[in-house]
Symmetry: C2
Subunit: 415 residues, 2 copies
């Protein structure tokens, strides 16, 4: 049951609104903030003077701005980089990375590390994550006090409370409560997010004109993932991170998927599936553990060159993605799509069959008008989304705290 608004919530929410406006706009003046938030100048003045006093915002030096206009020049406000710091940890197949990000969103330090996630034990995996975070926190240049949040993104399914990894293709281990583990270990609030969801968050941040209220980010990689933003909010499942587009059923009883089931979209469109079809192996052939990017590029090159099994493999991938998107569009209506990941570089091979398939589905009316964009490198996106998520938490939960933490405000999926 939703709860009434109390008087003290008012200031809290408007504080959060001001911080959020500054984060989005970069260096807005008080007047601009008043315009975007709809609050009066007096209110903005009061709130921002509080925030400056508390060291959350800073005024831009007047000398740095050249005002060509008449009148008192606007004073830009910006986030104080030293107000806090967050850690963005990204765990993907055989790869672990961490970045320290200041409150203004700049990367301060980072570390990357190769490891063999598929064969590691549960404790080893957890140990590596804890260790890489510890090394960053022990950096003498870093004021540990100021680290306000750790966000960890992983390829796989996370729970809807952003506490744990439930299942992941990068490890046989399941149900690892990374967020709780890191929180206990370092005493810093932590969250655990799905990688594709973070991609979507980052895309929206990078290009809010294109990716505004409704869009789809699809990861074309060894597996197929999706991040979905609907009505301006990140879409998640009722219990998990959800949006497992790759495991929608393309052909009942069809090709063997990495997840052990049959006929999933991923069993036709994942790298391993394209590789399997290109080699003309049986659809029942066990999915290979990994296909290198170089190998996939070679496949794509062959497909472009001759009309052989490679081209057919990409065609099948396009068909699976197209019918999958068609089913998705039946539920949510068509929306712009971003194809992310190494295989997005082969989207030219995928697109014809994909469009043909969509044309045969409910979203087909607008088949031609659905726009696809490609972005071949997912890692920077995931990290950026992760950082944004963590910073957004600091904005809302730490710098605009309720008298007591309200359950209703926590976990809001504002992308």
């Amino acid at each position: 049951m939703s709860v009434g608004i109390r008087h003290d919530d008012l200031r809290r929410r408007n504080r959060a609104m001001v911080i959020s406006a500054v984060r989005r706009a970069g260096q807005p003046s008080r007047t601009e903030i008043a315009a975007t938030t709809g609050l009066s100048h007096s209110t903005i003045s009061a709130i921002s003077s509080d925030l400056i006093q508390e060291g959350i915002l800073t005024e831009i030096k007047a000398s740095e701005t050249v005002s060509m206009k008449r009148g008192r020049p606007q004073v830009g406000l910006s986030l104080n980089p030293e107000a806090a710091a967050v850690l963005a940890v990204v765990l993907s197949l055989n790869f672990l990375s961490v970045a320290v990000i200041d409150y203004a969103g700049q990367v301060v330090a980072e570390e990357q590390r190769r490891l063999d996630t598929l064969t590691m034990s549960r404790d080893e995996l957890i140990g590596e994550c804890v260790a890489i975070v510890r090394r960053r926190l022990e950096d003498p240049d870093l004021d540990v006090q100021s680290v306000a949040r750790i966000a960890l993104a992983i390829q796989g399914i996370t729970d809807s409370h952003a506490r744990a990894m439930l299942w992941s293709p990068i490890t046989p281990q399941t149900n690892i409560a990374f967020a709780d583990i890191l929180e206990r270990e370092f005493g810093i609030p932590a969250i655990m997010e799905n990688d594709c969801n973070m991609m979507a968050v980052a895309l929206r941040w990078r290009d809010p004109d294109r990716y505004r209220d409704d869009f789809i980010a699809i990861l074309l990689s060894h597996g197929i993932g999706m991040g979905l933003v609907l009505k301006g909010e990140l879409f998640t499942g009722t219990h998990s991170s959800g949006g497992e587009f790759g495991h929608m059923i393309h052909r009942p009883g069809g090709a063997l998927c990495r997840c052990g089931r049959r006929g999933c979209v991923e069993a036709y469109a994942g790298n391993y599936a394209i590789w399997r079809n290109a080699r003309q192996l049986s659809e029942n052939a066990e999915p290979v553990a990994d296909v290198s990017d170089a190998e996939m590029r070679a496949l794509a090159a062959r497909a472009r060159q001759t009309d052989g099994p490679e081209r057919e493999a990409y065609r099948k991938a396009g068909e699976a993605l197209g019918f999958g998107l068609g089913s998705l569009f039946a539920l949510i209506d068509p929306a712009p799509v971003a194809m992310v990941g190494a295989s997005a570089a082969a989207f030219d091979l995928i697109e014809p069959a994909l469009r043909e398939a969509i044309a045969q589905t409910a979203g087909g009316h607008h088949s031609g008008s659905i726009s696809f964009d490609t972005e071949t490198n997912e890692l920077p996106l995931i990290r950026e989304g992760c950082a944004l998520r963590a910073l957004s938490f600091v904005d809302q939960e730490i710098f605009a705290p309720g008298t007591q933490a309200r359950a209703s405000s926590v976990g809001k999926n504002v992308a």
Copy 2:
């Protein structure tokens, strides 16, 4: 861009909260309202005394309640039935009905009418709807002044602004802006909703314990429809009512669907599809316009009796629904399902294949624990949902109006 909270919004929202608490609880005392809303007794006292003065709420006569407890007895508050009235119009295949509902939710008057929607012209269809509303409004017993809202539900796709029918299986006509037409004709605000969405709204109202924050209502009828509530809100598409579960793709290139495409879930699970398979007609056979409920009951009886084509037809329906639900669950996670409509009476024939199919999909882990409920009569549900929708509008937009109507508050899909 979200907007700050102004001081006058506070009272508005809390007024709406109080009204909503009374609508949900029936006859709550001020103390109970304070408890559910989290607001102080003083605030509730002030707001409710305003609302009583304005004739929106009324106090229950003390004599009507027997207080066994010590202390000053609680005074129940209830919605004043005379505060307003709404019209719920339901347009389905060959059937049009309207109900006048008072502010407390009681049906005051109603009218039903058979017509031949499939062959009617655009103007005839509109004319019938306008006429049936006009007859109710001309009822001398009704105070026309008090009719605050007309809600029209239709089987088919509506736009996300609740203004128009975009497409419907009950008529060859498309893009009829019923809401605008009724609004112009009678000068009463009108909305146009999808029938299955209204089913979901009503289910939540009837059984909030079972259908709380996440559930699925599926209409098993001539076609297959769905109403989806996620995180406590009605789920709609980005541009349309969305949730076209029946037109997710079950088998690419498969059986011919009523929508003209191939392989939709509905092309296996709709009444016409079951009928087609039971008669062992080709999957390419043109879907018949209508199959009577009696005929479907006969099919189901045959299927229960002998293991012939009828049983196989229901099995195929179950399989299609199961794989469709499996794909849906991949996106949103499993949730309770209500099977609504005449064919829900044959759910015993559908369930085994349905569960078997789900077990082969991503939601399969919990296949056993997914609960299905059946409700064979959809019309009362649709009408009830429609009425609730209209009343909820009155609660929020008329009796708790903003200083100026805010775009952000309009169109919130609170079920």
